[in-house]
Each structure stands twice: as C-alpha cells, then as structure tokens.
C-alpha cells in the first residue's frame, strides 16, 4: 500500500512537470507564429484601432510569460477559457459582420466544446482498440507459438503490409468500396454508432501491426523459457501450460504496448481519421480550431491529450509492477 502511494506521488509530480512544460511550449508556439486571432474574430471590416483595442482588452498584447501565468491560473481553477470563434449557440461568430456584433461574453466555453465532442472520440477509440485486438491477438499468439515457421512469416508480411498503408488513403478506399460501391456502412458524419465502424476499422488496421508484433515476440520468448518444459515434465498438458502460464506472462509487455504505443498512435491518428470522415470528435474540433486560430481550444486539447498520455504511462507502469514485482519503477 505504502508502495503504491509512494509510486503515485513520485510519478504524478514528474508528470505534472511534463504537462507544464508541454503547455508552455504549445502556448509560446501559438504566440510566436504569424497570424493575429483578433483579425479572424472581428473580420476584415473593423479598423486597426478597434482590433488593437479588443486585443488589449483580451490581454493578447501582454508579454507571453504574463499571458501564460494568467492562463495557468485560470486552468488551475478549472476554467479553460472561452473559444475565440464559436458562440455559445454553436455557430461561428467570426467573419465580416463588423465590430458591433462581437460579444466577448457570448462565447462557447472550451470545456463545454470538448465535453460534447469527447464521447464520440471515446466511442471511436474504444471500437478501434477492440477491433484491432480481436484481429491481431490471435494472429500474434499463433505466430509466437510457431515462431520461425509459416504462421510467423505470414504475420510478418501482414504487419509489413498494414504498416505501409497510409491511413487517409485506406480511409478513402474503404469509403469507396464499402459505402459508395457496397452501400454496407455509412461513412460521413455521425448519426448513430454505425457511423463509427468504418473509421474504427481504419484505425484498427493501423494499430494492429504493433499488437501482432509485440504479441508474437512476447509469446515466442516465453515459450523458450525453462518453466515451459519443466511444467510439462510435472504433468501439465501443453495446452494448459500455454493458456495458463505463457499467455499470462506474455500480457505484461503487451500491456505496455497497448498503453504507451497504442494510445500514442491513437491520439495522433484519431485526429486525422476524424477529419477524413468528418466525424464530430475532439480531433475534428482541434483541426477546425487550428484553421480558425482558436487558441484556447488548441491549447486545451493539446494539454489534455498530453495529460492523458502521461497518466496512461503512469497507470501502465503501475499495472506492470503489480503484476510482476521484479520490475522497479
């Protein structure tokens, strides 16, 4: 118990440092690149003085460190600010309607925008992980049991092929074949959960090489351990040995991979695939925010994505140390 408290304290402090560094990096990057968000908020019809005044009022002309500290204080109190562009009613308020229509109080809160989009992304990510595990675990385990023989080679070629398929291209080919030609599944937008199947399939194919590889490596290296023949000598059957011992021991590296590599990969690809399928998740929100220079939304999503990654890392390490106490953190 004490071990767990000590572990989490240490790692959470480390993680917090990382998240703060990332937040600083993204915050500074957004402010040093060209492109003034005030222009996009107010449209081209307002005068330079008007734009300048609004920028002053919103604190966009203060030195970057001052802005960052103000932002950090806000975030700590749980407020990620308000969107620059989206109004609380859902429409985009940026444009050419002039200065009078600009109303700083009528902006959608960033947290609300993210919370609306998050369930869609979670559904997609969960479905993708599920499909990919269902495809790749059997292949990987069989490849590991017959290491060096044809199932192993087949798994190798299959994962080489999957790695080589660009996800956007695969997305469009599947849209064309399954939705346009076959008419089997819907593809663009979101109305019910079936809209998530096709994007999830694309993500699953992208994820599966990682799973196939780590499963086959873990199983084959465990099969070479001395506990396998000694268990069989003691009278355990080979199938029982494999199911009860080899597979259990192989789960630790797999857990690591699922946690770190898969979540990392998902966090990137999810954004692109949501954009390709016009799927209303966090990724689409982020990409649209980038094009509209909606800084609060970009910052919040980047910080949250990185926090998720850091937390998953900690949980995976904790799970690994509780399954196998030889591992030190």
């Amino acid at each position: 118990m004490l071990f767990a408290v000590d572990f989490f304290l240490r790692r959470l402090v480390q993680g917090l440092v990382i998240v703060v560094l990332v937040a600083m990096l993204i915050f500074t990057l957004l402010r040093v690149v060209p492109g003034d968000p005030v222009r996009i908020m107010l449209g081209p019809m307002v005068t330079a003085e008007m734009a300048e005044e609004t920028a002053q009022k919103m604190g966009l002309r203060d030195p970057v460190p001052v802005q960052f500290i103000r932002y950090a204080a806000q975030v700590i109190s749980g407020d990620f600010g308000h969107s620059f562009v989206r109004s609380a009613q859902g429409g985009s308020t940026g444009g050419s309607r002039g200065g009078d229509t600009f109303d700083a109080s009528n902006r959608a809160p960033v947290m609300g925008l993210i919370l609306t989009a998050l369930p869609y992304s979670l559904l997609l990510a969960g479905l993708a992980l599920g499909i990919s595990l269902v495809i790749s675990l059997p292949i990987g385990i069989v490849a590991g049991l017959f290491s060096g023989r044809w199932p192993d080679r087949l798994a190798l070629y299959l994962s080489s092929l999957f790695v080589s398929l660009p996800n956007i291209w695969l997305a469009l080919v599947l849209i064309f074949l399954v939705s346009v030609k076959g008419g089997l599944l819907p593809a663009i937008g979101y109305q019910n959960w079936t809209y998530a199947i096709l994007p999830a399939l694309v993500l699953a194919i992208e994820l599966s090489p990682v799973f196939i590889r780590s499963a086959s490596v873990a199983v084959s290296s465990n099969m070479m351990e001395s506990y396998v023949p000694s268990g069989i000598i003691r009278g355990l059957s080979r199938p029982r040995m494999i199911v009860a011992h080899v597979l259990r021991n192989s789960m630790i590296p797999l857990l690591n991979v699922v946690g770190i590599q898969a979540i990392g990969l998902l966090l990137g690809s999810l954004f692109v695939i949501e954009y390709a399928f016009n799927y209303p998740g966090v990724g689409l929100l982020m990409i649209n925010a980038v094009f509209q220079r909606d800084f609060p939304v970009i910052q919040a999503i980047a910080i949250l994505a990185c926090t998720v990654l850091v937390l998953v890392n900690i949980l995976v390490d904790f799970a690994a140390t509780t399954i196998d106490r030889r591992l030190q953190y």
Partner: protein, 306 residues
C-alpha cells in the same frame, strides 16, 4: 519502437573493431534475406522512375488539358496509353503527378529522418556523456517533447504558420528527435565507462573528439538501421499533412494534395485518389521490408553477442 531500441542497443558490449565489423555483418545478413532484396528493388526501381520518369515519358505533371479530363487508367473503359494511370479533374496526368509526389515525399522523409537522427543523437550523446544537471534538464525536455503526439504538434505549428518544405521538415525533426535522444543517451551511459574511452582521455583527447571520433562511429550505425523504418512513417505523415491542406502547397503535386483533390470526385472518378495512394503504399512497403530486415538482422546479432 523506442523501448526495443533501448533494450537491444544497450546490450552490445564488443570492442571497437568488433563493432564496426558488426555493423557490416548486420548489413550483409539483412541483404541475404529475400524481404530485403524485394524491398530494395521495389524501392530503387521507384526512385529511378521518379527521377527519370517525368522527362523520359515526356508528360508534364502540371499541364492542364480539359479535353482529357477524367480519363481512367488503362485496363478500364476509355483509358489510353498516353495516360497510364489516367488523368484528374483538370486533365493532368496522374502518373507524372504521382512520381513527382513520390519524389517530394521521399526528399522530405529522408531529410527529416537524417535531421532528427543527427539532432537527437547529438543531444542524447551529450546528455549521456556529460551527465549531472545537463543530463537531467535535457532528459526532462525530451520527456515533455515525447508527450506531444506528432500529428498534434505538426497540425498546431503548420496550421497557424505558412507551410513550406523547409518548415515541414523542421516540424518533423522537432517531433521526432526525442526517440533518438533517449536511445543515444542510454547507449552512451554504458559506452563512456569503457576502456577505449578512458584510454583516449588519458592520451589527452578532448571530450568533443572522444564523442565524435571514438564513440559516435560505434553507437550510431545500429540506431541508424532502425531509422530506415522511420522514413516510411515520415512519408505517411507528409501525406497526411498534404491531405489536411497544411503540407507543401499546390500546384506542386504531393500525395496528400492529390488524394484530397480526388475525394470530391470519389463517386465517378475513383482512380484519382486510389491510384496515387497505391503507388505510395507500394513504395512504403519497399522501405518497410528493407527496414524490417535490417532491424531483425541487428536484433539477432546483438542478442547473439550478448
């Protein structure tokens, strides 16, 4: 990929000459496998084609010809030999456009991987060699950088600034260096305690000289072998950036922009998106086969040595 990099490169403990010989053996072993050769020939065939192709076949990738628009590839009704892979919505030859796209993707992939390899290895080697506070600070920065997914970083920077080939390469390097820094550092930690490093120090060699002349040739080739796989990954990311519209800007053809343009015509001209993507997938397959063979040859040899 990173954890494997770390675990396998740090186990090798051979002597100076032994390790140089080791790198050559790894390469020869990889070359002996069928996968490597298939990958090699596919890849170099495509490189030759993309360098010589446009001038050889005399078709321009940007010449617009409205009468020839929406021609399907040969083998389908209406296709003709002047445009092997068909034409797009403006009658531009897709084969020529794909070859130019391949050339751009390869250049960006190669340059960015070389860049992130050099930057990452340098930072990792310095952190591992100097140790102490420098190590601590450099590694915290590495951790922070690693916690940002590549795509998010690229979208953020390129989306709000003007994408040029140079800025794209910079972003990819910025996103990719931490993996190399970690690997190089972990190998450096075991390497700097070795006899030959002590010997060089006693002879009066400067730290910089020891790092560049003595240690780098030992520890970098095995890391570079795995970097081959990264070229394919960077080419995919380049295509993704082009697709979102923040890659190299039109009229220069890239895979991403060709695929994105074609999505509007997916219903009646499916080949605009699918065919160039197929070419990209084939070249990525070539690179991955080569990279995979190199990686396995390295792992086999390093495990045998330890």
């Amino acid at each position: 990929m990173t954890p494997e990099l770390v675990s396998t490169t740090s186990v090798a403990q051979p002597t100076l000459r032994g390790q140089r010989w080791l790198s050559a053996t790894m390469f020869i072993n990889a070359w002996r496998t069928t996968e490597f050769r298939i990958g090699f020939f596919v890849f170099f065939g495509l490189i030759v084609l993309s360098v010589l192709g446009p001038s050889l076949f005399g078709v321009s990738p940007t010449k617009i010809s409205v009468t020839d628009k929406f021609l399907p590839p040969i083998g389908f009704e209406g296709g003709n030999w002047a445009h092997v892979l068909g034409t797009d919505q403006l009658g531009r030859d897709l084969f020529a456009r794909s070859l130019i796209g391949l050339r751009n993707a390869l250049m960006i992939g190669l340059i960015s991987v070389v860049g992130m390899f050099l930057l990452g290895s340098a930072i990792g080697m310095i952190a591992g060699y100097v140790g102490g506070w420098v190590d601590l600070i450099l590694m915290r920065i590495t951790d922070a950088q690693m916690a940002i997914p590549v795509i998010i970083l690229a979208i953020t920077i390129l989306g709000v600034s003007r994408p040029t080939p140079f800025s794209i390469v910079c972003v990819l390097i910025l996103a990719g260096w931490p993996a190399y820094a970690r690997t190089a550092r972990s190998v450096m930690l075991s390497e700097r305690r070795k006899e030959y490093v002590r010997a060089a120090k006693i002879l009066g060699a400067s730290d910089l000289r020891i790092m560049i002349v003595h240690i780098a040739p030992n520890i970098l080739p095995p890391i570079a072998f795995v970097a081959v796989l990264e070229v394919a990954r960077m080419m995919i990311i380049e295509a993704i950036l082009g697709f979102i519209g923040i890659g190299i800007q039109p009229p220069t053809p890239t895979f991403g922009t060709i695929i994105a343009d074609g999505t509007k015509y997916l219903m009646n001209a499916w080949w605009i998106t699918t065919v160039p993507g197929l070419l990209l997938a084939i070249s990525l397959c070539g690179i991955n086969l080569m990279g995979g063979a190199l990686e396995r040859a390295r792992n086999k040899l390093l495990q045998g040595v330890s």
